[in-house]
């Protein structure tokens, strides 16, 4: 790489509630950074061109494709991965529903799928199955055929709505 171009940069960000300071290659995407530099291997690289959704995580509260964002772009951002979501316990009911309904098989798509499903559930109410299917269509699963995932998300939506009554 030519010295005319800056090949590395320093970033500061919050990852799962903790301060991180790092020097990164400017071409490194966020998923590689989290996996390789921070050991957060729960985010998975399935296609690295923004289609499969296996790397879905939260950046500043919004679900984002980790492979379509450079680590350098995350400077100043708040990033949350499946590890952080798990530790905070905010999707414990959803995770339990996935296990109970066997809404995962190989588990490779699951962290991204959970992040996307949690995003829908955070909007409240009980979305219809077609709405759930539509919302999850940016997350590919090759194992389950999706129905169990839809069931699990629907179950959690109902339980959360019930709990608010």
């Amino acid at each position: 790489m030519s010295d005319l171009f800056q090949t590395e940069t320093q970033i500061r960000l919050m990852v799962n509630g903790q301060k991180v300071k790092a020097r990164v290659r400017v071409g490194q995407h966020l998923t590689d950074f989290l996996r390789q530099e921070l050991g957060l291997t729960g985010s998975h690289a399935g296609c690295e061109h923004g289609v499969c959704g296996a790397c879905t995580l939260r950046v500043n509260g919004e679900i984002t494709r980790g492979c379509l964002m450079l680590a350098a772009q995350a400077d100043g951002a708040e990033v949350e991965t499946i590890e952080g979501l798990t530790e905070r316990g905010v999707i414990a009911d959803l995770q339990q529903a996935f296990v109970h309904r066997n809404a995962l098989q190989c588990g490779f798509c699951t962290p991204g799928m959970l992040a996307t499903a949690a995003d829908l559930l955070a909007r409240g109410g009980v979305p219809g199955r077609e709405v759930i299917r539509d919302h999850l269509s940016g997350n590919y699963c090759r194992c389950t055929g999706y129905e169990a995932i839809i069931d699990a998300v629907e179950t959690v939506a109902r339980a959360r709505a019930e709990a608010l009554k």
């Binding site: 790489m1 290659r25 071409g27 490194q28 590689d32 996996r35 390789q36 957060l40 291997t41 729960g42 985010s43 998975h44 690289a45 399935g46 296609c47 690295e48 061109h49 923004g50 289609v51 499969c52 296996a54 991965t81 499946i82 590890e83 798990t86 995770q95 996935f98 296990v99 109970h100 066997n102 995962l104 098989q105 190989c106 588990g107 490779f108 798509c109 699951t110 962290p111 959970l114 199955r129 077609e130 759930i132 299917r133 539509d134 999850l136 269509s137 997350n139 590919y140 699963c141 090759r142 194992c143 389950t144 055929g145 999706y146 129905e147 169990a148 995932i149 839809i150």
Partner: protein, 793 residues
Amino acid sequence: MTIDFGNPNRPNSYIGRTVPRPNAPRLVQGRGRYVDDITLPRMLHLAFVRSPWGHAKITAIDTTEAAACDGVRAIFTGQDLLPHCTPWVAVLAHLKGLKSAPQHALALDRTCWVGEPVVAVVADSRAEAEAAAALVNIDYDELPVVTQIRTALDPETPVIHPDLGDNLAFRREHVQGDVEAAFASAHKVISASFKTGRHTGVTLEPRGCLADWNPAEGKLTVWQGTQAPHMIQTVLATHLGLEESRVRVICDDVGGSFGIKVHVYPDEVATAAIAKVLGRPVKFIADRLESFISDIHARDHEIDGRIAVDENGKILAFDIDDWTGIGPYSVYPRTSAIEGNQVVNLCGGPYDFANYRARTSVVLQNKAPTCQYRAVGHPIATAVTEGLVDLAAEALNMDPAEIRRRNFFRDDAYPATSPANMRFEGLSHQATMDKLLEMMDYEALRRDQAAAREKGIWRGIGLASFIELTNPSPFMYGIGGARISAQDGATVRMDPDGSVVVLSGVTEQGQGTEAMLSQVVAEGVGVRPDQVRVITGDTQVTPYGGGTWASRGAGIGGEAALQAALALKGAILEVAGAMLQCAPESLSINDGQIVDLESGAGRMPLSELGRVVYFRGDTLPKGLPRELVQTRHFITMEYPFAFTNGAQASYVEVDRETGFVKLLKHWCVEDCGRVINPQLVDEQIRGGIVQGLGGALYEECLYDEHGQMLNGSMADYLVPMAVEMPDMQIAHVETPTAESLLGAKGAGEAGTAGAPAAVMNAINDAIRPSGGRILQMPMTPERILRAMGTLSD
């Protein structure tokens, strides 16, 4: 020893119940351990330079510029690797006449498909390896390519491997009865041509391995996402010149396999060889773009079929001519002739008819190699068979369900042998179809279809019955000389705390093997499933076994685990009898306690027995057997394969303007013998159905006339998404195999076997008013509009 499966209230009745998967909580927390999650000290990364040409001579390779890049540690060409890794030829002795050319880990002087690995660049990081790989300069002279299947054997078509003489890798014809006479005397003869699209598995976790050669120990350790660790051990030992005992293959979590990860890939062998040369750990993880051109493809078939029926709809004969293109090499070590061979074995499978002719012609071409993918050959055979049966029904003006009923092997006709010489121990086509029609409310659905058609909405119902080959014996591979194990083993032991460990040769790919093993062992020993720890996927630790393929995990590996568990129970009770001063036969184990067999009264927890055996063995009688560890292996002996059967139905709506297909609902009734875990079986079937629907409607590896793959990215190659898929209703008929105590047959491929045929028949039922029909998969909107005559340019 027997188990009273008919009594759901028997003690420790875990077989037949939905119990949770022990590995699932880990995976939902992002705590999986896939190959790419593993990091070793001094680990290097590999990137491959792959052939950009379908067929080309390599005239020069210049690595100077690449070698000068930051982080680059080594670069290997095919010639560099040649002294360290021998080539392979993928043939099997029982597939007579099968031929293929020697294949090297890296191309030597010629490349034969776009994606073939040519140069390996080793660097400190994958990013650096990729950057340097882009600077490797390779000069090629383009050679003529072979892309078409039907013309591959024409005299004017170039021969890909001149030493082979022609492009015919394998041909087999099977004839039973007097086919010509049957067609000559038939009331109706229907002919049709089918195509199934070349597609691929798209495991969400790409292939990968991490190889570590320890020169001090003379030992190679390979972490690999694979379905067959012992097979990989054998192959690496053979081609790297090591003793098998010096190779350890470890398979932790695997992100989807579906057959893609049961083969030997040149890039993975190269990774192991390079690790051995460098004496450092080397990791290779395919990226998605190279997955599309280097993972095996499958199902590239063109089939001409004929069916002969009498005036009552009785099937008199099938005549099948199958052609398939497999790429430039037969894939090692299972070979690429199996899929075509399966088409010959499986066509007409559910039906009792007399005259059968089937031929497969397996030809070489300059595209990615094809090999076994989930439900190998079944979706093709089922689509052709069930497509022809529907066409016959139409010609006879007979209901599709009725023509099937008139031709099934009767449920009381077993054992039976099919015209393809497949031996069936016990199937249930009649009961299965009855249950399917009842579950879907066939008559009501026909009324709904008619009402919709009144309104100009085209809906269609499609049925498909099928057979599925599971629990393979050595007749599948071993008989042909391949070191691929059909038997499988399990070791079950009790630890001092009374908990149980099972080590099994079958592997977990996400289908639920570990749950299945935990509940089988729990029932066999008499503990709770959560007291059973499951260890799979390590050739240094587990008993020798075949792994996961051909739907064998539960039927073969499960039976081995059950037998080992029962043996452990016997060993425990012998010690318990000595401790309690009573006959072992008067005791049993229930929920982790030694109990009186008759009264069920608790006598002693297993942890107490464990304490005495392991820490106070001096208090036990001298000479008392106290091996609280038992190993059993299982192999099927009576039948080459345990066939299962099932029936599926699809209800679709075709948009007459756009040709888009809406999947309204899907049903499947399946008979996999004893159902061990109802939820896991149902989810295998659902996932399998959707994989079948993918091949039927969306998935196709498109190539141009130069052998370039045109849609090799996740954005261009379509896989099923949540929004397009239907809800699926699943039910079972259970005809256990008598070959094992467990009685389980396979269930992992049934969904994929039948779904394409069901949806094809449904679409043709929907577009029947147009007078057209579609027999080519994937059934894209464009092809459907052409079939309807709406598009004709």
